[in-house]
């Protein structure tokens, strides 16, 4: 190895590790803070590693807040949200990609155009409607919008268009109905895209803030981000409690990421996740 190449290797790892440290240090701080007692939060000089680590903060989170319930709410909402998105979007995409009908192009254009509308414009009327039909503090108020996810439709249309029509014709010859073609030919062929969408949709729903903030005000109905922001209001400077809550909220999504890394990757490349 020449000196120059050695130098470039060294430089590469120096920069890569520096960026990694920047990315990780806040999380290390989160763990360390969550293990501190209330008194240790304000010791000077600060304790980088808590001298007497304690799980008090975690106990506080679970005792003073229905946090286990919150985790359950988040799981339930995100899973159903994802399933409905996949079902509704794949059905629409099938119609757009594989059934010829008049106005198909215009309608798809309309679907895509709605992506331009910021949620802030529609949220006030939707809040009003949800309020008047009494859906506030119902999970369904947060889950139902999953029925129309134009980006998911777009991604699946792109995927389905690449599937040769021969597959469908073969099924049709065998007398399969349109629904059976969708269910038994199309969906299996789109499995990788569906998996990618599932992972990215789950993450979006899991981390969503603005809409659930408006809809779920009852402590027993809240999702994790909303519960965390409520904790923020209550324990404004008790960072051990806030960090314990944050850490718990991260566990499921990090676990999913570790097991489904490949699909996250595809999702980002398709531009599927909002930051």
């Amino acid at each position: 190895m020449t000196l120059k190449r050695k130098g470039s290797t060294l430089l590469y790892y120096a920069v890569a590790i520096a960026v990694a440290i920047v990315a990780l240090v806040p999380f290390v701080w989160m763990v360390s803070t969550s293990l501190k007692s209330r008194g240790a939060l304000m010791s000077i000089p600060i304790e980088w590693i808590p001298e007497e680590p304690t799980l008090d903060a975690y106990r506080t989170v679970f005792e003073r807040f229905p946090f286990l319930r919150t985790v359950g709410n988040s799981l339930f909402i995100s899973v159903t949200y994802t399933l409905i998105t996949l079902l509704s979007a794949s059905m629409a995409a099938f119609a757009f990609a594989k059934i010829r009908f008049r106005g198909s192009g215009v309608l798809l254009g309309l679907y895509l155009a709605t992506m331009m509308i910021p949620t802030q414009v529609t949220m006030i009327p939707l809040f009003v409607v949800m309020n008047q039909i009494g859906l506030i503090n119902h999970y369904s108020s947060v889950i139902l919008p999953s029925i129309f996810r134009p980006f998911a439709v777009f991604m699946l249309v792109q995927q389905m268009r690449t599937i040769p029509g021969d597959y469908l014709d073969a099924a049709r010859v065998d007398g399969a109905s349109t629904f059976r073609i969708y269910r038994q030919v199309m969906l299996p062929l789109c499995a990788p895209t569906l998996a990618t969408l599932a992972v990215t949709t789950f993450m979006e729903s899991w981390n969503d803030y603005l809409w659930p903030l408006l809809m779920l005000t009852d402590r027993t109905k809240m999702t994790l981000p909303i519960a965390l922001s409520t904790l923020n209001g209550q324990y404004n400077t008790e960072y051990n409690v806030l960090m314990a809550g944050s850490l718990i909220s991260m566990i499921p999504i990090v676990l999913i990421y570790v097991f489904a890394q490949k699909y996250f990757q595809n999702g980002i490349i398709a531009g599927g996740i909002k930051g």
């Binding site: 590469y12 790892y13 890569a16 960026v19 990315a23 990780l24 240090v25 806040p26 999380f27 989160m30 000077i44 979007a89 629409a92 099938f94 119609a95 059934i99 010829r100 009908f101 008049r102 309309l110 709605t114 910021p118 802030q120 414009v121 529609t122 949220m123 006030i124 009327p125 939707l126 809040f127 009003v128 409607v129 008047q132 919008p145 029925i147 129309f148 014709d169 049709r172 349109t178 993450m203 981390n207 803030y209 603005l210 408006l214 981000p225 909303i226 965390l228 922001s229 923020n232 400077t237 806030l242 960090m243 809550g245 909220s249 991260m250 990090v254 570790v258 980002i268 531009g271 930051g275």
Partner: protein, 309 residues
């Protein structure tokens, strides 16, 4: 012959629509209920002084509360609006270049076939996975002036850090730093997808001509990935205008209004002060600003985006 006639039949549009309709039904309902109708209602609400509490569909409600374009006039006449717009633009001007440089660096690091590159990819992506609420809480603690990690780290090298989120001058730059930290992995991976699709023969040819690493980066990598950069700029600008959770958790618009931004105002007018009409008008102004910016970007792309690879 059966399949052939069937296919021909399918081409007849009416029957096609009949087949397509059941598949479109759920998303069409969604389009109507969650997008089209609210859009229309929102436009109407923005012309009223409705407080969000009175029955919306009560008879005479619209006539009683109708104020014409007053909300829009009042917003443009208020000092606050221009301050909020300035704050938002300040955020954008700092955030976009910083985000682009760091994401390009992340992409460049991950594009190399070195040992350990997958580990780096996982690490750089962890901030992206974290919800904005959790990330904001973590950073609020890190940025705490006396007991936070950052100022104590700076103290180790003899720098006295500012009050960050509590300091009018430093609050917005701090929000920018946190946003760059959170987004660099996300946009980095998008840029990476553009970077790895560049044909390696360009680099080989450049090497033969004796080009160095920097000139390869500026002469080959950047121009050839301009479509991806364009996409990143469009998405990040739209996101930047909708900046919200980090503000709510970290500063709540403070100190002294230094981090008040558009969505934060819309939220507060609508759901804290119950001025739904005013908030709706505000949201339409945001919508139009986003559309104008996206349109300008689309127009300008011809000048610098290179689509022939």
């Amino acid at each position: 012959m059966v399949p052939k006639t069937k296919r021909v039949k399918h081409r007849r549009s009416q029957e096609g629509l009949l087949h397509a309709f059941p598949f479109l039904l759920p998303s069409l309902l969604g389009l109507l209920v969650f997008s089209a109708l609210p859009l229309v209602i929102s436009a109407f609400i923005s012309l009223t002084d409705w407080n969000g509490l009175d029955e919306l569909l009560a008879p005479g409600m619209f006539q009683e509360h109708f104020v014409g374009l007053d909300n829009y006039k009042n917003i443009f006449a208020s000092k606050e609006f221009w301050q909020v717009l300035r704050n938002t633009c300040y955020y954008i001007v700092l955030y976009i270049p910083l985000m682009l440089i760091t994401s390009l660096a992340v992409a460049q690091l991950l594009a190399k076939k070195r040992r350990g590159v997958t580990v780096f990819r996982v690490i750089y992506y962890i901030p992206v996975l974290t919800s904005w609420v959790a990330a904001s809480l973590i950073w609020k603690s890190v940025l705490s002036p006396q007991y936070g990690a950052l100022n104590n780290l700076l103290a180790l090298v003899g720098i006295e850090g500012p009050g960050w989120l509590l300091d009018e001058t430093w609050a917005m730059p701090a929000i920018v730093l946190v946003s760059v930290w959170k987004d660099m992995g996300f946009f980095g991976l998008i840029l990476l997808s553009g970077m790895v699709s560049i044909n390696p023969s360009y680099y080989e040819a450049a090497s033969l001509d004796g080009a160095g690493a920097w000139s390869k980066f500026f002469r080959i990598t950047l121009p050839l990935m301009s479509p991806v950069i364009f996409y990143v700029l469009i998405v990040s600008l739209i996101n930047a205008f909708q900046l919200f959770p980090q503000i709510m958790i970290m500063t709540d618009g403070g100190p002294n209004g230094a981090t008040q931004v558009m969505v934060e105002r819309i939220y507060k007018y609508g759901f804290r002060y119950y001025r739904m009409g005013y908030a709706s008008a505000f949201s339409w102004i945001l919508f139009v600003i986003i559309m104008i910016c996206t349109f300008i970007q689309m127009k300008c792309q011809k000048r610098w985006v290179n689509y022939d690879t």
